[in-house]
């Protein structure tokens, strides 16, 4: 580990682990104390290491300090002692036996339980994401505010409300029992999916933040895959989807931050390792012989990693979209399906189907129309693009559409 960024690196990896273990030991209603004790542990490192040198095993150093801090806090706090060891209420004896278990297994278990606690259905999706970034990924309040394009106060309020909810809903740090596991896991996966999408699709954020959000979502999904209870069809499917998508992260944006369309992307910038990983997880997912939303999306994403346009590719994509829309209809899904329709049955046929969609307030709809008219009707192409220009919301998109119009008008 380089000493130049040892603190940020340790913080990224260890902060969430220590918070999870302490919250598990104290109960999640003490999550703020757990966060404070963990922050103090890092401050302690900063106030010690310059003089005494950086310890040989910095992680072990942090764990020891955190453990001692937690025990001190516990011994000073009678309410907490009474809560954890009710039998102590009767006796006056000092209790020193609080077990802060920082073994790999307990860390992994605590993080997983923390994930389920945070992704509790009673907490709003936005708050779940903010909490996940703060508590599971160690993001600073500033960074979360940047990611959501809002200010620190808003994020602080959001986190505060979410933590109150944890308390009022009496949320525990446990893996839900079998009868609830899949439903609760669905909520966890949905939060990871939203976190990933915030990174992948948001056109408002600088590319660095986007990438980090995507990677965090994948890190958390990886935690789920490490446990037999949560390593199932849905988790593998979502992981495959995220691997395929993120393989194109670097190819998707120009140096100026403009979107580069799929067909214009430099294939050499696609991350082959991630594509291979995606394929591995997709194969894992298929072992369960069920078909789910994430599985279909991952399968579509897989075909998109095949650059060559051949009949098999587009026919497969079309059939996958047909299945996907049946179980999870979205306007964007319907539009993407039309691209496949145009490749398989021609632009004319796709135009007829597009007419039926009537997504008159969606700029992607008009961008698609302009593509379908491109070879046959110049006026309608320009007309569609101008409509799209009126409807789109971000500068990046406006620039992109204006460029298209200019290219046709020349």
């Amino acid at each position: 580990m380089s000493t130049n960024d040892i603190i940020p690196n340790l913080f990224r990896v260890e902060y969430s682990k220590i918070v999870a273990v302490l919250s598990k030991a104290f109960g999640i209603d003490y999550i703020e104390i757990a966060e404070d004790l963990t922050s103090e542990t890092f401050l302690m490192a900063v106030e010690t290491w310059p003089y005494k040198g950086i310890p040989e095993n910095p992680t072990a150093w942090l764990y020891t300090v955190a453990k001692n801090k937690a025990k001190n806090y516990f011994n000073r706090n009678k309410i907490l002692r009474d809560k954890i060891f009710p039998e102590l209420k009767q006796s006056d004896k000092q209790w020193n036996e609080l077990d802060i278990d920082l073994s790999d297994k307990n860390i992994a278990d605590s993080q997983l339980q923390m994930m389920f606690a945070i992704c509790h259905p009673a907490i709003s999706e936005k708050s779940q994401i903010a909490l996940a970034l703060r508590v599971l990924s160690g993001f600073g309040i500033d960074e979360i505010a940047d990611a959501f394009l809002t200010n620190k106060e808003t994020i602080n309020k959001r986190l505060h409300r979410a933590k109150k909810k944890l308390l009022s809903e009496n949320v525990r740090m446990i893996i839900p029992d079998e009868s609830q596991l899949q439903t609760r896991l669905d909520t966890v996966l949905r939060t990871l999916y939203l976190l990933f999408s915030e990174g992948y699709y948001s056109e408002r954020n600088p590319s660095l933040i986007r990438k980090e959000l995507c990677l965090e979502a994948m890190n958390l999904a990886y935690l789920l895959l490490q446990n037999d209870l949560t390593n199932n069809h849905s988790t593998n499917s979502l992981m495959a989807l995220m691997c395929f998508h993120s393989s194109r992260l670097d190819a998707r944006l120009s140096e100026k931050g403009e979107i580069i369309l799929y067909q214009n992307q430099d294939e050499n910038l696609w991350d082959k390792t991630l594509i291979e990983k995606g394929f591995y997880y997709l194969q894992q997912a298929s072992k369960w012989e069920i078909v789910s939303k994430y599985y279909l999306e991952a399968s579509i994403a897989y075909w998109y990693t095949v650059k060559n346009d051949n009949q098999e590719k587009w026919e497969s994509i079309l059939s996958l979209y047909d299945q996907l829309l049946k179980i999870d209809y979205t306007p964007i899904g319907a539009l993407n399906r039309l691209i496949a329709v145009s490749k398989v049955k021609g632009n004319g046929f796709a135009l007829q189907e597009a007419e039926k969609l009537k997504l008159k307030d969606n700029h992607f709809y008009y961008i698609l129309l302009s593509e379908l008219y491109k070879e046959t009707d110049r006026d309608k192409t320009i007309h569609s693009l101008k409509k799209a220009l009126k409807l789109c919301r971000t500068e990046t998109e406006k620039l992109f559409i204006k460029k298209k119009i200019k290219n046709i008008e020349i």
Binding site: F11, L43, P50, Y51
Partner: protein, 113 residues
Amino acid sequence: MKEFILIFRHENANGKVSPEQMQQWMKQQKEWVDSIAAQNKFIGGTGLLFDDAKVVDHNKMVTNGPFGDIKETLGGYITVRAESSDEAAEFAKGSPVLQGEGNTVEVRQIVTN
């Protein structure tokens, strides 16, 4: 060779800092300490934490502190070997603590018998 203590005093040092800021502080502080140690003139030192600080007054009243009344607080110290207080003051000039306006480094000779 005499011994000196260099005491860091901060203004408003009790704020939340990001890991990057922590890193920056640690790096500068370490480089400063290392440069004194390279001359074999560093004896020891440490930073001081704010959490759980107490102040005891002449009535033996214990309060949490030092917050409120005192604007400046002690942030840490190092002890060094130097020929004179002037040399020790030269060391003090390199302290990253001084980047904060209002912060000071106090140089005092240690009684060594």
